[in-house]
Amino acid sequence: MKILVCISHVPDTTSKINFTEGDTKFDKNGVQFVINPNDEFGLTRAMWFKEKQGASVDVVNVGEADTEPTLRKALAIGADNAIRVNTPAKDGFQVAKELAKVAQDGGYDLVIAGRESIDYNGGMVPGMLAKLLKANFVNTCVSLEVEGDKATAIREIDGGKETLTTSLPLVIGGQKGLVEESDLKIPNMRGIMMARKKPLNVVDPVGAEEKTSADKFEKPAPKGDVKLIDKDNLDELINLLHNEAKAI
């Protein structure tokens, strides 16, 4: 089985989010970039398929050269090859079209992407990519087994789970649950050394056009001070929730 894992290069979850150039650009200053957490669960699941079922695992990112350390980290975790499509990521549509070209050229059986990136939270690349490839698609996937060309997936739904059966080629929008948090692979020294020698191919974009543009950003209004209520005066809390907040 040939697996392609799509890797988004995103600010670490603890990052303070700021904007620059008149609130039109994300301020990368002092921000640590990481593999998108939803993609990291998918990558670790791909490693499981590699170890147990002899799959090959490539990783891909659509972005400029500054995303390469993130791809090297994916190689250090155990991916075989990395591909970078040399163009800035503009929107979900453009990224999905660029990824579709890579996926078609590589003839992958399974494409794993995160259900959404934690920066723009678009949540659209996996589904768009699947349809561009005319592949089957399971979103918010929390479990995946593959036998031959048959796949069984579990999907998170609002308030529960759904078990689905389908076949390859398949694209999933993955998330936590594909593997446990404690099973996430941290690159060891040997992995990091080996990653330096693994191929990282830079390919030209097909020049897909975006359909949306993120023009401007705004931070939420600063929060007013918390109203502290004495623990021996819980009636006051109920009164405030009822009469002031109208929440109960």
């Binding site: 979103n139 936590k176 975006e210 359909k211 623990k231 929730l241 009822h242 907040a245």
Partner: protein
């Protein structure tokens, strides 16, 4: 040229999020000087959508669609959009909505903005405000394609009544085998519990509760309030509570009216995930916990004393205000 809204139903019944999507579609239609057409799948009582400004309902009744199927549902919605020559397609942001929207976007060659929190800033260009960076910021996105798809975030625009008379018509989309290549084998969903996605109120517990055996008080408080229960990331990582209850940046987002955090310190990732909730209450014995900076109301105190007392008092309040 109308605004098309997909109205989700469950076992034939609409939910609050459905009415919110309809209300939003009416707001957009008013801006465009247009009207709202809804498409529903195996739903009952379609006339009620008129209450929220829908003037026409395309009702699809088809046994093949009795279980949710993303490809088939997306195909139905895309065909309805073409039928109506819709330039704007509105959906909610339930798990199913988020599953179908990108598929519709490819079917219609349309740009899609998800997690939208307000009516368009302008309709030409078509610019919407949406949540980004997991609620740490807003982002103004312009959709430049001919057809625009908007996913409306839960509990942001709200339900607005706009009495209209809805004409209900049958709609029979053409479906083919390729729509059914992913099949639901089984659904595991607790029917007697409020889900985090639907809940108006969420009661959430953290490490401060010391162990899974102490969750009764969280569940009791939730029961009194008709709330869903949730937990912080460490709690689900340690296996005290199921992953499905984990809320935060890598867990589920919460956009409730009221979020009550018990024994949760308020790590930045947790706060990001629950930030879309309207009113936040924190109960924690550490006055330095970061959650106090993000909350509307706070109680510094021992959860093991405060929560049972609060529950008793709320029961009284509920009894007196029933």
């Amino acid at each position: 040229m109308s605004v098309l809204v997909y109205i989700e139903s469950e076992n034939g019944k609409f939910k609050k999020a459905s009415y919110e999507a309809a209300s939003y579609a009416k707001g957009v239609a008013d801006q465009l000087g247009s009207s709202v057409t809804a498409v529903t799948i195996n739903a009952e009582n379609n006339e009620v959508l008129g209450t929220y400004g829908v003037s026409k309902v395309l009702q699809v009744n088809n046994d093949q669609l009795s279980k949710f199927n993303a490809d088939a549902y997306a195909d139905v919605i895309a065909q309805a959009a073409k039928n109506e020559d819709a330039k704007v397609v509105v959906l909610g942001q339930t798990a199913n909505d988020k599953y179908v929207a990108p598929i519709i976007a490819i079917n219609l060659e349309a740009g899609y903005a998800s997690n939208v929190v307000a009516l368009p800033e302008s309709t030409s260009p078509f610019t919407v405000k949406r949540n980004a960076f997991t609620n740490k910021a807003f982002n103004f996105t312009t959709i430049s394609s001919d057809i625009k798809i908007v996913g409306v975030a839960k509990n942001a625009y709200g339900v607005k009544e706009n009495e209209t008379s809805a004409a209900v018509e049958d709609f029979s989309p053409s479906l083919d085998a390729s729509d059914f290549s992913v099949n639901v084998e089984s659904v595991d969903k607790a029917t007697d519990k409020v889900t985090i996605a639907d809940a108006e109120i969420v009661v959430s517990g953290g490490r401060g509760l010391k162990g899974p055996e102490n969750w009764d008080m969280i569940e009791n408080l939730a029961e009194t309030l008709g709330a869903a229960t949730a937990c912080s990331k460490p709690v689900s990582d340690m296996g005290w509570r199921p992953h499905s209850e984990h809320v935060g940046q890598t867990g589920k987002p919460v956009a409730a009216n009221l979020y009550i955090a018990v024994g949760i310190s308020g790590a930045i990732q947790h706060l990001a995930g629950i930030n879309a909730s309207k009113i936040k209450v924190v109960i924690n014995n550490d006055p330095e916990a970061p959650f106090f900076k993000a909350a509307d109301y706070g109680i510094v105190g021992d959860a093991f004393e405060v929560v049972p007392q609060l529950n008793e008092k709320l029961k009284e309040f509920k009894a007196n205000n029933a």
